[in-house]
Symmetry: C2
Subunit: 491 residues, 2 copies
């Protein structure tokens, strides 16, 4: 027998729910048209009726535009990646509603009650979660966080009811009873969590779900109100922006990270081959060590057009086992990517622990080409420095080894390479009108590069400027830096 | 030390490889422009050098357009789905090359050697694999199947070399030595497999990889030749079609599955509510049983516009736990889906064992709207009956419970519902110009429906025609049929 029998519903309650269902359906269609993505998450003690209430919510909605994710304990794919990964990749498109049955808060309740979480890690987790929600909210996502509450007595009686039926008895696990015995402790964790993550952009709402009927009404009303408000804000374009521009400072710093670079450095062929052979053997062995360590590695390659990113990547991976790395070339976003937060696609390609992701161009496009070509607003690219730092910092905290290369050449060298490419029939396809156009904006790009390096060079995700006029020198430096980075962590 | 040291390569061999690399790069770019998707799979005994050779291949290619998948033993996501699922969802887009390091053949070698596969299941697996490859080939995919071969002695010496180094010793597992001890048996399985799956559309090619250098050359040459040939065929539009139209027969059968349907059947409100309550409780319990059985369930809803598919689905899921089912509304394919085989998107939403996927419209669009509106060629929709039967048959063999509903109404009833919708402000959005246009083609659609039901009504994936003029009758019949289908399998 279902937990919540609805065969004998009071007709007025039924009418009220039916009215709210219609209202919510209408609001959903309006939100879709206005491209308001929506995240609704359900937390609550075991047996609070999350499943039943989610189903009541779904009955109002057009199934083409929602998706329910039951977030169980993380599986292997998720365990070997940063904690927020499995949630980021499920964030909604602009015309979608994503409903999380349990969420990133699971970690902060169950894992704390079960003492799987070390206390000193908590402030970081609260910070990362608040950052995550703030980033989504700034991208226009409406976040609705619901906590379903029942008393200890009600919880016991529901468990017992489930256990009485042969088909549902298995749903009540030992863990559920364990949590039940720790009901007060559980409540304490929940209060702490709600206090620390109850923000303007993503406030908590607690629903007493002792009675399914009144909980349904409260749920539908709350969600309708929130969507109505979001629609009004969107129409007036009054949505507040939560990311400060504090991290943005003028590029007019004294020390340019590019000017002092000595581009005259080079390597002779003999020396190059000798060092390359040693380094390729080293990196081959380190790839295996990395695999055993289960730590993910992220390598970012940025640089001027024709700086030699592709060539450097090729020499780096030449000796590697293709099962252990992936080269991810980053171009203009496709339609699906454009419909998500700009960082979404990079979360999607994040490597599993033990693997290396090599980005040929990256999320730094936001503060380079998107900034200079006006593909995003000034507010957006100024906020991006902080957003990117937060993302990389979360990755690093979760064990990721991060290195970012800027392959640097000067204008003369670029011109020579452009000309050489145009003369070589095998390489002509590599050079486009756009490359020539970008070249004319060299000075603007230089300012953007300097800002980027100065504002996102972090201890756990450093920039390495590579002297690129001499390809051999650059390739050896890339390989050497990578080898050292792995060694310093693993050896 | 890498398995294949390349520090002292013979300069003429180096030149030859470099020439082939350039050639292959050029061919890849041409294949991309012509939209030829490519699948390359590598099989071979342990230690044959798959990783090293794949890396040699990758060095020729533009990383924007290939993707390597190392197919390890299936994880939980794959184990709880039909065997071909994890390969289907990774098939390439029109401008992509997908490289499988191990493939669907893993099952036919390793699992046979380890005696995990029962002999009586083999013919089905061979059949399903051949069907899979034929379906891809008919969609224009170039399939290159490579088997790397080394002698038993060479295998032993390579294992010993790997074991000598601390960083690579872990790569040689007990299983590898077990396979080594069974080298002859392994070869027997391989010969049998190659013989049974060596088809015109997807032939095997065996490469002796005792020497990495000559294997590299042979690999690059073979792949280049195959792509060259595919390019020529594509330009001449000479690509052969492998699916016969045998399963297609004229609709002019004597017995229409629609004409005898008694649309006058109905249910009184009292009776309806009583039966609904009983059925919803049953289906709630069965959902749990299904979950415990780990069998996937696929429910397809097709029917005339306004036949009541949505309403029937709503009543079906009303009492269910949303963690156990998903409603998948199927509309026009998006850009990504259009770039894949038309069945690809349905493989992607296939439910995990224990879960129910409810398709609101489905792959049958191929033989309905796509057939009638000319969205695919006559050859294509005529081949679809067989392709769909093969897909559903594979799912059923792998334990899936499949039910397909055609919700039937007559033209008068449809007109009444269209008018009612237009008069109701809450439902007006549901009716579009297209609905009125489709209505004018009623007779054509009827022929297509009859063909569809007659040609794809299979024992393990039956069609159920639902009398839909009376909504209450239809909803009860859907629920009742679903309950019976689960009960007949699980109870």
């Amino acid at each position: 027998m279902p937990l919540f029998d609805n065969s004998n519903e009071d007709p007025t309650v039924k009418d009220q729910i039916s009215f709210l269902n219609n209202e919510l359906g209408k609001l959903q269609r309006e939100a879709i048209q206005l491209k308001i993505p929506i995240v609704i998450l359900f937390e609550g003690v075991d047996g609070a009726g999350k499943g039943a209430l989610i189903n009541r919510l779904l009955l109002s909605l057009d199934p083409r535009n929602f998706k329910v994710h039951a977030m169980h304990s993380p599986n292997e794919e998720a365990l070997y990646r940063p904690f927020l990964w499995r949630f980021w990749i499920k964030t909604p498109k602009q015309d979608q509603m994503t409903i999380f049955d349990r969420s990133w808060y699971r970690h902060l309740i169950d894992d704390r009650v079960e003492e799987l979480l070390e206390a000193q890690g908590l402030p970081d987790i609260f910070e990362d979660i608040n950052n995550f929600e703030r980033q989504l909210a700034d991208d226009g996502v409406l976040i609705i966080k619901l906590y379903l509450s029942i008393s200890m007595e009600e919880q016991r009686s529901r468990f017992e009811k489930l256990e009485k039926s042969a088909t549902t008895a298995w749903r009540v696990t030992q863990k559920d009873w364990l949590h039940h015995a720790q009901y007060d402790n559980y409540q304490k964790m929940v209060s702490d969590m709600i206090e620390k993550t109850n923000s303007e952009m993503a406030p908590w709402h607690i629903i007493d779900s002792s009675s399914i009927k009144s909980a349904t009404i409260k749920l539908l009303e709350w969600v309708s109100n929130k969507i109505t408000k979001a629609i009004e804000e969107k129409k007036l374009e009054e949505k507040p922006v939560f990311t400060s521009e504090l991290q943005w400072r003028s590029h007019a710093k004294k020390d340019s990270p590019l000017d002092p670079v000595d581009l005259s450095q080079s390597l002779e062929l003999d020396d190059y081959q000798k060092r390359m052979n040693i380094l390729q053997e080293k990196v081959y062995n380190l790839e295996h060590l990395l695999y055993l360590s289960r730590r993910p590695m992220v390598l970012v390659f940025e640089g001027w057009d024709a700086a030699g990113k592709g060539g450097a990547i090729r020499r780096l991976v030449k000796g590697l086992d293709p099962r252990g790395y992936e080269v991810i070339p980053v171009g203009a976003p496709n339609a699906d990517e454009l419909n998500h937060h700009y960082l979404w696609r990079f979360w999607n390609s994040f490597p599993k622990g033990g693997h290396i992701a090599i980005y040929d161009r990256s999320w730094y496009g936001r503060v380079m080409v998107e900034r200079l070509e006006g593909f995003c607003t000034e507010k957006e690219w100024k906020a991006a420095y902080q957003e990117i730092n937060e993302m990389e910092s979360h990755w690093a905290k979760c064990g990721t080894i991060i290195l970012k290369f800027w392959i640097h050449i000067d204008q003369d060298e670029q011109l020579a390479r452009f000309n050489a490419r145009e003369e070589n029939p095998l390489k002509r396809w590599k050079i486009t009108e756009e490359d020539w156009r970008n070249r004319e904006k060299w000075d603007d790009y230089k300012i953007a590069v300097e800002d980027m390096i100065q504002l996102t060079d972090e201890m756990d995700a450093p920039w390495v400027v590579v002297e690129g006029n001499n390809k051999r020198f650059a390739r050896v430096k890339v390989l050497e830096t990578t080898v050292k980075a792995i060694e310093s962590v693993l050896c």
